[in-house]
């Protein structure tokens, strides 16, 4: 299963980026192969509008089973993400990626 985190950095000690559309990175962990992959999303900084839909398209290409983030996607991104069979957990801001993963495993994260 692939779990994607919106991340402010590139390691397990990085903080969750609370934003979906304008997240700096995605960290994707595959718990079957125990592989971690980092996707750079920082180019979205240059977008005045449409960051949410641009990032949603990127997530669609990654196709994770679970997305863990902070504030939750905005309206446009949420519309796009409905096309994807993916569980979304929110309010993981103020956690590191590792803490968010542990909380997810223990069922302590809030589903959207």
């Amino acid at each position: 299963m692939k779990i994607a985190f919106t991340a402010a950095g590139t390691t397990w000690d990085s903080m969750i980026d609370p934003r979906f559309g304008r997240t700096e990175f995605f960290i994707v962990y595959n718990d079957e192969t125990q592989e971690t992959t980092v996707f750079d999303n920082s180019a979205v900084k240059n977008e005045a509008h449409g960051a949410g839909t641009a990032t949603a398209q990127k997530i669609f290409e990654i196709k994770p089973d679970v997305l863990i983030t902070g504030n939750g996607p905005g309206e446009n991104a949420a519309t796009a993400l409905k096309q994807l069979d993916m569980k979304i957990f929110v309010n993981a801001h103020n956690m590191t990626i590792k803490e968010a993963y542990d909380n997810y495993k223990n069922g302590k994260l809030q589903p959207l």
Partner: protein
């Protein structure tokens, strides 16, 4: 006066809430006492001049923008549309194309470049323009529908409509949106002079500087009106002096103004100094524009 081209004045500001509406509505109402005046509310995301203008509605027109609509049957899923759209208003998710009409800038690129003609353009209502007559004052209000993200197309359409229907009115006042981004540039593009309303505070000064730079970029003559004069500090005045920007008027921080305003009332006919300020503003603008 008849042979002169109309005088077009933009009322703008860097910072929001400095008094654009107060100045626009009072200046327009005051000037309309002596000659036909046009007031256009271009703050389409939250127009509020109507609160101070009482008159008869002459017309309401629906305003449209063109957006692409996905034809699923014709689509070959080649992906050109989503790669073309600079605004991420058209995205491809597997076998689905999603169009986000609020993000669309009506550039037609996706529609024109689609090899299967699967994104024909269709009309989408984005807002309304209302014309109200109040004696010598013609008031045009432009209002964007809630949820729409693109103010610029509606602002352009409002300028066009105002020019077409009331372009010969000798005095024209355009109440612009706050800030320094595209809507402000679109609003002030056709005017002869821009009044920047500010307040004498560090926030007011910071945003005033940004607005002055923006107007310099589009080559508009500017003057400053300091509202709520008496609060804060004198840094705005010092800045204007150093930068050679005329201060057209100082509207005092006065409880009576706040009370009248919050009751939806004009102040120029109730507070004496206000008329002097408005006279000074219009005279200074006429002098600058005549010289140019």
């Amino acid at each position: 006066m008849i042979n002169n081209p109309p005088l077009k004045i933009g009322i703008a500001s860097g910072k929001g809430g400095t008094g654009k509406t107060l100045l626009s509505t009072n200046l327009a109402a005051y000037l309309s006492q002596t000659q036909p005046t046009l007031l256009v509310d271009l703050d389409v995301e939250e127009p509020d001049d109507f609160l101070f203008v009482r008159g008869t509605t002459q017309s309401i027109t629906d305003q449209y923008k063109m957006i692409p609509v996905w034809d699923e049957k014709a689509c070959t899923l080649c992906g050109i549309c989503s790669k073309t759209c600079k605004f991420h208003a058209v995205i491809q998710l597997g076998s689905i194309i999603l169009v986000f009409k609020e993000l669309c800038h009506s550039c037609y690129a996706c529609s024109e470049l689609c090899p299967a003609e699967a994104l024909p353009m269709q009309k989408h209502k984005m807002g309304e323009i209302k014309t109200i007559i109040s004696g010598n004052l013609t008031f045009i209000e432009s209002r964007l529908n809630i949820g729409e993200e693109q103010a610029v197309p509606l602002i352009h359409q409002t300028h066009e409509l105002a020019e077409k229907t009331h372009g010969n009115i000798p005095l024209q006042i355009f109440d612009c949106p706050p800030g320094t981004s595209c809507p402000v540039v679109a609003s002030t593009r056709n005017v002869d002079f821009v009044v920047l309303v500010t307040e004498p505070t560090p926030f007011g000064l910071n945003d005033l500087k940004l607005a002055v730079e923006t107007m310099k970029e589009i080559h508009k003559p500017v003057g400053v009106v300091i509202n709520r004069y008496g609060i804060g500090n004198n840094e705005v005045e010092m800045y204007c002096q150093e930068a050679g920007i005329p201060v057209l008027a100082k509207i005092p921080y006065d409880r009576r103004i706040a009370e009248l305003y919050s009751n939806g009332q004009l102040v120029y006919d109730k507070i004496e100094d206000m008329q002097t300020s408005l006279d000074n503003i219009i005279k200074a603008i006429q002098n600058v524009v005549r010289k140019n």
